[in-house]
């Protein structure tokens, strides 16, 4: 199995250096070859397990519960403006 690492890295929002690409392609290929052994098992009638306990969705009331930590949260933000996290411009154009 040869993985298109560049395309996967694009999906994962990670920029890769050229030397990393080669090694990661090899590593991922090796790991996926190992994982290939699962295809030998017949599982047509086997349900998937996403979670081992028989628990159900837990709901709560959608109400505000002020934590009073806005300042604490924003103090360590990489960049802030007022009560907001600030990021570089999202929408390009005029």
């Amino acid at each position: 199995m040869k993985v298109n690492v560049e395309q996967i890295a694009l999906l994962a929002r990670i920029k890769l250096k050229a030397e990393e690409k080669e090694k990661l392609t090899r590593d991922l290929g090796n790991i996926l070859s190992y994982v290939e052994k699962l295809s030998s098992l017949k599982t047509d009638d086997v349900p998937p397990t996403s979670h081992v306990l028989a628990i159900e969705n837990v709901f709560r009331k959608d109400v505000q519960s002020p934590q009073g930590i806005i300042e604490e949260v924003l103090t360590k933000a990489p960049e802030r403006e007022g009560h907001f996290f600030k990021v570089p411009k999202v929408v390009e154009g005029s």
Binding site: A9, I14, L41, A77, F85, P88
Partner: protein, 485 residues
């Protein structure tokens, strides 16, 4: 009393006799760190002055509702993926450097509410991705039994500080063996409770269907004391189970008469180190001589566990790590465009193993590959879980090796990710099935490296697990031997 060497239970008795033992213990551990930790590097952050206010408050405490708490005055160290309010929590990753949580993890809250002092934050593999504590952005931790070897991982710092008497006890997290394997390699006790037993609120997530928090301690009884405190339902973690929590210390009694113990034949296969095999089989013989009924059992899908794990765990990891984008906290690469900020922040913030797992996880979840990898992985996970369901109709406890080998050399497996992944071959199945398991010292190799034995039990049957582990431990002296560091 040599305070740094004390078990949690011993220190508790000392504190009951004389309150000043709280200060003496913290000082003794601090001195030990000062002398030894430059060689071991078990701690990411330890600062004696940070403890002063807690020590002062507890030494003067008069309220018996507090002084009689099970961890009153006990220092406990934490893996650095557990959030501590006002105290940097990094997951040993550059991307979280500078992150100061505005809240305590539920386990941390429970430790504090039960009188504990949060002592220091321990080194780990970056985001708990690893079996050797070598992928930490702070550099590797060394094994206190042999500084040229790894302590195991990913909770390697938590295991090493307990083994080196730089801590009384510690908490770690276990997704595929990350508490039990380092406990085994460092000669201490490590518990992964049942999935759902302990709240993960405030644990920085890795594989959400697998992660559990648990203790690393000097004795089985100490582990039971800590499990008592951290277990229980938490409304803030909707995957925590609403099951009643028994007093696990009551299960610690030296009696295994009639206990049915199974040895899965698939765990004693080529690749298992001979010395490990001998030590583990001797443990089974010892328990048989004490009245346990030991039989061979089969867990036929064992050989598929690592493959399932490296699909399920990385898929969940890639999703969980999507939140690290430089927007709200931690590291941000200053770029002019939002997209560049994401790509550069994640390139510079994540280490090699984290990138490998994020990419692998993204791949197995991507369109066209989902059914072949992720869905098939989840189906085989069902088969592995059924193996255990079936086995537990015949036996009460399953006894296995923890790690196929004693501690390996630093650098030995870093170039071959697959060799590293196979370090967890005997611990991963328990995470996939969600069952509780414990690692207990059961011998030493010719090179004087610790070897551990694993006891696994049914969902929410930690009592039987503790009972077998305690009875074995009390019939041997392995846990009393100290690392030579």
């Amino acid at each position: 009393m040599p305070f740094a060497k004390a078990t949690l239970k011993e220190l508790r008795e000392e504190i009951k006799k004389d309150r000043s033992a709280i200060r003496s213990a913290c000082q003794a551990l601090g001195e030990r760190i000062g002398k030894k930790d430059s060689g071991i590097r078990a701690y990411i952050s330890f600062d004696a002055s940070r403890l002063e206010a807690d020590i002062e408050r507890l030494v003067r405490e008069k309220n018996p509702a507090i002084t009689e708490k099970p961890l009153f005055g006990i220092p406990v160290s934490l893996k650095d993926n557990l959030c501590t309010r006002g105290w940097e929590t990094t997951c040993a990753s550059r991307i979280l450097k500078g992150y100061i949580p505005p809240y305590d993890a539920t386990v941390v809250e429970r430790l504090r509410a039960n009188g504990a002092i949060i002592f220091g934050k321990c080194n780990m593999d970056e985001f708990a991705f690893g079996s050797s504590t070598e992928s930490s952005c702070y550099g590797p931790t060394a094994n206190p039994w042999d500084l040229s070897r790894v302590p195991g991982g990913s909770s390697g710092g938590s295991a090493a500080c307990v083994a080196a008497d730089e801590a009384i006890a510690a908490l770690g997290s276990d997704t595929g063996g990350s508490i039990r394997q380092p406990a085994s390699l460092c000669g201490v006790v490590g518990v992964k409770p049942t999935y759902g037993r302990v709240s993960r609120y405030g644990l920085i997530a890795f594989g959400s269907s697998l992660d559990q928090i648990g203790p690393l301690t000097k004795t089985v009884e100490d582990a039971a004391i800590l499990t008592n405190v951290i277990a229980g339902h938490d409304p803030k973690d909707s995957t925590s189970a609403n099951a009643s929590v028994p007093d696990f210390t009551q299960a610690c009694r030296p009696d295994v008469k009639g206990l049915r113990i199974g040895l899965p034949r698939e765990y004693f296969v080529p690749g298992l180190d001979k010395e490990v095999e001998t030590a583990v089989k001797k443990a089974a013989e010892k328990l048989a001589s004490m009245g346990a009924i030991v039989t061979e059992i089969s867990l036929p899908h064992t050989e598929y566990a690592v493959a399932v794990y490296y699909i399920v765990a990385v898929a969940e990891a890639s999703s969980n790590l999507g939140r690290f984008d430089g927007v709200q906290y931690g590291y941000r690469y200053p770029a002019n465009h939002l997209s560049d900020m994401y790509f550069e922040t994640r390139d510079r913030g994540f280490g090699g193993e984290a990138k490998r797992r994020i990419l692998l996880g993204t791949f197995v979840l991507s369109a066209g590959y989902y059914d072949a990898y992720y869905l098939q992985g989840q189906k085989v996970r069902t088969l592995i879980k059924r193996d255990f369901d079936h086995a537990f109709r015949q036996v009460d406890v399953i006894l296995t090796p923890v790690s196929p080998t004693p501690a390996f050399k630093i650098g030995e497996r870093t170039e071959d990710p697959l060799a590293m992944y196979l370090s967890d071959i005997f611990t991963i199945p328990m995470n996939l099935a969600g069952i509780p398991a414990i690692s207990v010292p059961c011998g030493f190799s010719k090179e004087n490296l610790p070897i551990g034995v694993q006891f696994a039990a049914k969902h929410f049957d930690e009592e039987t697990m503790f009972r077998a582990a305690y009875a074995f431990e009390q019939s041997t002296d392995f846990h009393k031997k100290k690392a030579g560091v």
